[in-house]
Symmetry: C2
Subunit: 336 residues, 2 copies
DNA sequence: CTGAAAGCGCTTACAG
DNA sequence: CTGAAAGCGCTTACAG
């Protein structure tokens, strides 16, 4: 492969001049510039990324730490990854995607070896073991998901509390008095998914204020458990007129259950959920829902990170940003 | 960050000795080794990846070129990405994941700048524009998906022809004489997905040999088109006793349609498909199917690539490997 | 068993 | 407007 030295020789200039022509960091005479450009073209020269990284201490790579819980229902992850990858590229960065089970170790590895300029952590848990190593790393990071201690971190998440209140308000306004609430599986809480109780507690509190009756459950994550649980719950709560579903597997598995039971939505039952538009389309879900906006979250995280990578300490105080939930009405609720 | 020079100074040896202690490429006295190791520990030293890459011409990074067709139904992509990432890590490589729309350009960018030691191309089309740039690249590549010209390439794909024959044989053996065949959407063919006609032609040919009647269709990719098309097709072919579905969106959307029509499987209709186990679980599909084995394909591609990156020209002749289809019987077919 | 030195391919003060 | 040189942090022949 041609090096900058080859280009310099072919153009009859010094290597530094070629470098400056490339970066535009100093003025070059038109004639010199043209000779350099044609030499670059003829030799098919592209700067070596490793050498450049060594000289500048910048890799132009963002580490993306994806955390998969393989026992879980997660076709949703790609909805975050793709917008992040797009946003990174638009800002001139590539993505080093790390899926190792041992997230903290992986994070330490790629930061200590200076493979990346910054990090995006996906699916951050309340007590996420990756946050410690992130704090010790030289590189800045942006989180998608809310950890217990946000001190010094850029954090992006949906406002799950507000989302829950919006759904309860919506149903209350329609006159519903008994509501089934399906949360994620209990082991998600064990794992530290604070969004579970942020949503759940807010829903319960709001319902209490209105004097509504709420029947809370932790949902299953796989078929056939999902269908079975739905039948049990619906049998057990015949007087409930609405359900709020905060569980991907449970809402994806709901249509056939209702179909089999002859339950018509919203005539017999009002259904609301919280899931992304893409997710809803994937499973043809005809339910009114809070949009989770994975694309907005992912892009916001990348933008904050890019700022911080560029401006270092000058990037200002860290932000914890909750994006406002939006309700997409698909007509799955009716007055009672 | 500590450099190898800091370690050398702390241990009272030369930088080369530290380097050799790290690589194990020459013998070091026990005493020296211990001094070096404790210096490394105390300083928290990790070699700089860029510097190492520059010195060795090896990045230990694999470029993963993912091609998304955003208008399409593709929760399936992650099933390839994850095993590839795992296999790469096991072999000591990280993954640079590229999702740019302009695949050829992205490929050229990361290979010319020497960001990667090798490439995995996902979702390779019959006339894939990335194959040309791959051939010109210094780095080796492995493909998942069969291009028109495989010369000099390591290629991995499912044997779609054999898969189709197995399904036809299966139905024929049960006595079915009229079969509906649903292929991917037509624009997939336009885009060069040769697997469409590899499967379709083989099915038609096999059926012809048996004197079976086949009703071929190109399926939709999104709801509500999917359900609508199913109803049209089933209305139009009341005498068909079996369907073969080679289309993710169509098979995921089949259960509610059959349910609504009161069609019981396999009593009223035999159903077979071709999809991965994970995909089937995701959509709770109770259908006998050819397993597409994305994990096997992804891992095989990485392994071949790792070989070629390690052994260079000595890695032997390129391989085109079709993995043998396996039928998973979920009891959705019966005798006629 | 170990060290001094050259080299990988860039960038960027320094000097003119 | 341009060049010579030092330096980024490693690895690896070469020499002893």
């Amino acid at each position: 492969m041609a090096t900058i030295g080859d280009v310099a020789k072919a153009a009859g200039v010094s290597r530094s001049t070629v470098s400056y022509a490339l970066s535009g960091k100093r003025t070059i005479s038109d004639e010199t510039r043209e000779r350099i450009e044609s030499a670059i073209r003829e030799l098919g020269f592209t700067p070596n990324a490793g050498a450049r990284a060594l000289a500048t201490s910048q890799t132009r790579v963002i580490g993306l730490l994806v955390q998969f819980f393989r026992d879980e229902f997660s076709p949703a992850m790609m909805q975050y990854v793709l917008p992040i990858s797009d946003a990174a590229r638009e800002a001139g960065y590539d993505i080093l995607m790390v899926t190792e089970d041992d997230g903290p170790h992986a994070l330490k590895r790629i930061t200590d070896s200076d493979m990346v300029d910054g990090l995006v952590l996906l699916n951050v848990a309340h007590d996420d073991p990756r946050v410690g190593p992130l704090r010790s790393a030289r590189q800045p990071g942006a989180l998608v998901g809310l950890p217990r201690d946000t001190d010094g971190l850029d954090v992006f998440d949906l406002d799950f509390g507000e989302a829950a209140r919006m759904l309860v308000d919506h149903l209350q306004g329609l006159g519903h008095r008994e509501i089934i609430l399906v949360s994620p599986n209990e082991h998600v809480i064990t794992r530290g998914g604070a969004y579970v109780w942020r949503f759940r507690d807010a829903a319960l509190e709001r319902a209490a204020r209105y004097g509504l009756r709420i029947y809370p459950y932790y949902g299953e994550t796989q078929q056939p458990d999902v269908a079975e649980q739905w039948n049990q719950v619906l049998d057990a709560r015949p007087t409930a007129t609405a359900v709020i579903v905060h569980n991907d597997a449970m809402i994806a598995g709901l249509p056939p259950v209702l179909n089999a039971r002859g339950v018509e939505v919203p005539r017999d039952l009002s259904v609301v959920g919280i899931f992304s538009e893409d997710f809803g389309r994937l499973f043809s879900l005809p339910y009114t829902a809070i949009e989770t906006s994975p694309d907005k979250l992912g892009r916001a995280a990348v933008q904050a990170l890019v700022h911080r990578m560029r401006d270092g300490e000058g990037a200002g105080a860290p932000v914890v940003r909750f994006i406002a939930p939006e309700l997409t009405d698909r007509g799955s609720t009716s007055t009672r």
